[in-house]
């Protein structure tokens, strides 16, 4: 005997998976219904439109994400620890809402232009502020390297984390925390061994 909100959540989860796998536009409402074991029209008993399903998936995900992020940002950690905590929370979010993150990754850029999804752009800004601010603090504290373009570093961190949603599958051999640790290790200390001060990219010249 499942209470009504349960059914709704099931449908949203199903829809999120299909959206993530095939893209929002390419996903038919009928496909979602099939996957949920009902007819296309029946979905409209639960939701207003295909778009409102997408909306609910994305806003639910962002609400939850910001709950975690805000807790981290309010904890008064140092810059490095803040980055570590944000990355870890991000991978946990991928673990919990992988499909939602994948959809966000693929669709948010053009969705953000629409009135209805303006919150995506807002979230994006808060996002940027939080990460950029932490990186700047870290540079000031001499925890992060000063010779890097900080906006580039921000994009690098951001993408590095979220793009994982495209291949991560929950229940795999690595826990989200383990993946976070490895990612942080690479991002913070690099994949090269010890003391390599300068990359030698210029060594390779074009044809």
């Amino acid at each position: 005997m499942t209470p009504p909100p349960e059914r709704r959540r099931e449908l949203l989860a199903t829809a999120a998976e299909v959206f993530a796998a095939h893209g929002y536009k390419a996903t038919t409402v009928r496909r979602i219904a099939d996957e949920a074991g009902m007819l296309a029209g029946s979905l409209y008993y639960h939701f207003d439109s295909k778009e409102s399903i997408l909306d609910e998936i994305l806003s639910t995900f962002l609400d939850e994400l910001w709950d975690r992020y805000d807790a981290v940002l309010a904890a008064g950690l140092g810059p490095r620890e803040t980055i570590e905590a944000l990355v870890t929370e991000s991978f946990r979010e991928i673990d919990r809402h992988g499909p939602a993150v994948a959809i966000y990754q693929k669709e948010s850029r053009h969705l953000a232009k629409q009135q209805r999804f303006a919150y995506l752009a807002e979230s994006q800004e808060r996002f940027e502020k939080a990460w950029l601010g932490t990186l700047e603090r870290g540079v000031a504290d001499r925890v992060f390297r000063a010779d890097l373009d900080i906006r580039l570093a921000y994009r690098f961190l951001r993408d590095t984390v979220w793009v994982a949603a495209s291949w991560y599958r929950p229940g795999g051999q690595h826990s989200p925390e383990e993946i976070a640790r490895q990612y942080l290790s690479m991002v913070l200390d690099g994949i090269a061994v010890g003391e390599n001060p300068e990359p030698t990219a210029k060594a390779h010249s074009d044809s």
Copy 2:
């Protein structure tokens, strides 16, 4: 009087931009035609179908990319230098064919399932072989850290590079080579200052 192949290339470039901006499925053939200053039906004089436009964009991009990659791989460089060269070439490719790369990034996963786009999966495999092999060689040579999950590192490198296509705009303040250098600096040596042997991710524990 421009020769036909020229017009074709223009149309492909236009189509690639629109596909990149809105997604393949969400892009209508009419939108492409509008952007090109013709009517939808007229596109069919130049191309068989919408899908064949996509096909030509992606295969052209991959052909060119592999030309460069093969040159790098045949040069007999060390593992670190190989990685540096591959990354540099990748950013140059983004510079030249940004939209094609963005499309590849967004659509290749589900396109690869189709017969017609099987070459995407093949390319993906060669890709993986080249990068993984180089990383393994680097670990053996003690150029890269041995304590990292090498498949994770591969995905990390791959995604880090290509995802840049989503924000990179040619003609900006950084040349592709400069961006490559910064990216490599982060990936190889990390963003943290000097001697941090261990990330402290475990410092942040969840409930």
Copy 3:
């Protein structure tokens, strides 16, 4: 505790109002249910179908109307008095069943083609016979003008009366009898002052 027939009548009244306001086709069964404070499905406990609701509204209205008309026609009045009585009864009917009359006005023409609503066409014929007969009798008795096209006069009278259902609201400042009196005054004696033997429509020539 209201007896069932009472509830039924309430629902019919509600449905009639919504049908009248938005048209039969444009009215959803859910809208009626909303207005009645129940769910759409629940209406089907009381009625077989949306169409049967419409049927009951229209047939109830016509049954009642004919009761009154038959009484008038059986009363042996003169032509002018008959017309006056019919018009007065019509306005009373509008007062009592405004929405039903409005629905009849809007929908009867195409409904009459359906088997189920054949009684609309029959009623229409009896209607025509009663009014036309009275008018003819009036012309013969030299009570009504002989120079008018009698079928045109019939349509004129008929429409003049029923169309009032589209703006009449019960409880307004004029009683139905008062409106009937004014209408009859216009129809019988005209709106012009006294002795205007000939309209001068021909005075207006086209451009």
Copy 4:
């Protein structure tokens, strides 16, 4: 070799007839297309939507109607002659655009609530001003009876005229001018013979 606007006009005429016969809501786009000898989807090459077809039908009709009305109102005629001219123009309009008038008659009341069809409400107001003003002038000039409720007379005139669209068929035995003359004769001078000062409605008492 018909020029493009011709095709458009044909389609609008076809659509208007179907809308008039079955009601806007009950008319399917497919039905219109059938009647026009094409497939439903093909209509969308010519029009944005079903609603925009309706819009174009109604606004075209009203534009034309007001051209005529304005000419009449600017002609400086006396009240009676103005009424005669307006009625005559109205019947001519019914003759030319019968279906449009029928649609207007049936649908304008609820359409006027929508933003897009606000011009219907505006037109309605101008309408009222023109007719009411003329009637008032006529009463002041002792051309029209002073003992009648002028708003009632206005509704009476207005409805009397337009409702004719529901039965009028062009090419019948009466020209629009002839019908106008008969209508005006009834409206101005009444259907009763000569000197009947008072209707005797009160002679019929209710049960």
